[in-house]
């Protein structure tokens, strides 16, 4: 049996998350997760254009989940606020976990989805700007808790 031990940073973000909430009239919204796994995350973006570049002016999140899900949500908002969409799009789930000084291995699978949700929000923003499509691969797991596990 593994122990779930969270880093100090995870605990800080869990107790005092940054940028929690909703943005009214958001320019892009990402929604991912599976309540059966216990993790659901929404990310809201406000984008401004500056010198031909699109910059994340504001970002907020809502999350249902464990400390890993909540702290990764909070952390990614810190990482990408003020960044261009291009820069933000490069952030991976692993980067987020690293910034938090790591996550328990069991949490890497389902609860580390913040970067996916951010990409989903950016995709939503691009979709709203006609003819701009973008593709990416989700790296967190969204189905594993649906399948019945065989007991040993």
């Amino acid at each position: 049996m593994q122990n779930i031990k969270y880093s100090k940073k995870v605990k800080e973000h869990f107790l005092h998350p940054h940028n929690m909430g909703k943005i009214k009239n958001a320019d892009g919204i990402g929604k991912l997760g599976n309540p059966a796994c216990g993790d659901v995350m929404y990310i809201y973006l406000k984008i401004i254009k500056k010198n031909e570049k699109e910059i994340i002016k504001d970002i907020k999140f809502q999350t249902m989940g464990c400390a890993a899900a909540i702290s990764t949500s909070s952390m990614i908002t810190d990482i990408v606020k003020g960044k261009t969409l291009e820069e933000a799009f490069k952030i991976t789930n692993k980067d987020v976990a690293k910034e938090l000084d790591g996550l328990p291995p069991i949490k890497m699978h389902c609860s580390n989805l913040a970067a996916d949700v951010l990409k989903e929000a950016i995709k939503d923003y691009y979709n709203k700007q006609k003819n701009r499509k973008i593709k990416y691969e989700k790296t967190a797991c969204y189905k594993c808790c649906d399948s019945k596990k065989e007991m040993d």
Binding site: M1, Q2, N3, I4, Y6, K11, F14, L15, P17, M20, K31, N34, P35, A36, C37, G38, D39, V40, M41, Y42, Q62, T63, M64, G65, C66, A67, A69, I70, I106, H109, C110, C144, C145, D146, K149, M151, D152
Partner: protein
């Protein structure tokens, strides 16, 4: 920060009178009960007294007490030991809300060609006695139904189950780890053939339990060796732990039980009243005296647990065993809680030391934590 421990269903502390009683058996009376000299014989005599005490507590008139390493071993010995010793019958019946050590033993036997019936439970966790009766066939050797469920506190009607088993001539085993010394158990009246009990849920030490079996029942031992415990469980007896087990039987008093029931009912009322997204899991009547289990919509139990822990309060999500795996809780499943809600469950279990003041502090913190997490959740309506 003063810790508030509300996880007595996971384990209890060893109380001082139990610890004091055990000490001499580490330091002075350390004899091996199999030895013929005075140190050995003294230890043996004391162990036999504990056997008698357990039998008295259970009103076991025609039974043997087999000491084991605890609940898991007792349950394994009861089921595997029995089916291996009675090869002609290959069917057992259990419920869907048994502890993992019963469920996984049953799964293990299925792989070896045995047939297992998993009885359904209703939304409060009670088995259907009619389904039990119908499930018994001539190949059935054993019915194993736990007394008090470790997660939702449901107390099965052992008397009725025992009656059915007697009529149908099948053996009846019950896992009573959570209920022993807290609820009435009478092996004669309830017609129980085998019962699992242990010490660390009743203020005794960890690593000691017993399987009490009716005389005449054959078991194939899991551990072969020197032929201890009537040949059913070899290995030098853990004398200090057995002494502690014996002493622990007296720890929980009638007044303690009454106090825990009152506190439990008070907490149920307060939490349901003050947290609109909460729901009680398990029954309101025929519920273990110290068990509470709640579901909170829109949030995750582990987050509640973690924050309470940071604030000095120990509780549990579901059973302690499932909180470190991502498997959904099988008890929640069996009582019909949909998977997308089964992550919002916490279990609180009270002890003889629990005070009203502690429960009030807990409730106050719980309200704040649930509100914080609910406000954070995207699923909140």
């Amino acid at each position: 920060m003063k810790q508030i421990y509300l996880d007595y269903a996971a384990t209890t502390p060893v109380v001082k009178e139990v610890y004091d009683e055990m000490k001499d058996y580490f330091l002075k009376n350390y004899g091996n009960t199999s030895s013929l000299h005075i140190l050995g014989q003294n230890a043996d005599e004391k162990v036999e007294k504990v056997r008698e005490k357990i039998k008295q507590k259970l009103n076991a008139k025609d039974h043997k007490v087999i000491f084991t390493s605890g609940g898991t071993e007792s349950n394994n010995l009861a089921i595997k030991g029995l089916v291996y010793a009675n090869k002609e019958k290959k069917h057992i019946i259990i419920s869907k809300i048994e502890h993992d050590c019963i469920l996984k033993t049953a799964k293990f036997l299925e792989k070896q060609g045995y047939e297992v019936t998993y009885l359904n439970v209703d939304k409060e966790g009670f088995i259907d006695l009619k389904q039990l009766e119908k499930s018994i066939k001539k190949e059935t050797i054993l019915v194993s139904i736990m007394h008090a469920n470790n997660e939702i506190g449901t107390l099965q009607n052992l008397k009725e189950i025992g009656k059915i088993c007697k009529e149908k001539k099948v053996l009846f085993h019950t896992d009573a780890c959570q209920s022993f010394t807290k609820e009435k158990i009478d092996l004669e009246e309830f017609n129980i053939d085998l019962i699992t009990i242990n010490a660390h849920k009743i203020y005794g030490p960890k690593g000691i339990g017993a399987l009490v079996i009716k005389n005449g029942i054959k078991l194939t031992p899991l551990l072969h060796g020197g032929g201890h415990e009537y040949g059913f469980r070899s290995g030098t007896l853990n004398v200090p732990a057995i002494i502690g087990f014996g002493k622990a039987i007296d720890v929980i008093s009638k007044e303690d039980i009454k106090k825990m029931i009152d506190l439990r009912n008070y907490m149920i009322k307060e939490i349901l009243k003050k947290i609109p997204t909460s729901k009680l899991n398990g029954p309101t009547e025929n519920r273990l005296c110290n068990n509470l289990n709640f579901l909170f919509n829109y949030i995750e139990g582990e987050s509640i647990l973690l924050q309470l822990d940071m604030e000095g309060i120990c509780i549990s999500t579901g059973s302690a065993c499932s909180s470190n795996t991502l498997e959904t809780n099988h008890v929640a499943n069996a009582i019909g809680i949909p998977k997308d809600k089964a992550n919002g469950i916490i279990r609180i279990s009270l002890g003889i030391e629990t005070t009203k003041e502690e429960t009030d502090i807990f409730i106050e913190k719980l309200i704040k934590i649930v509100k914080r997490l609910t406000d954070m959740s995207p699923l909140t309506k």
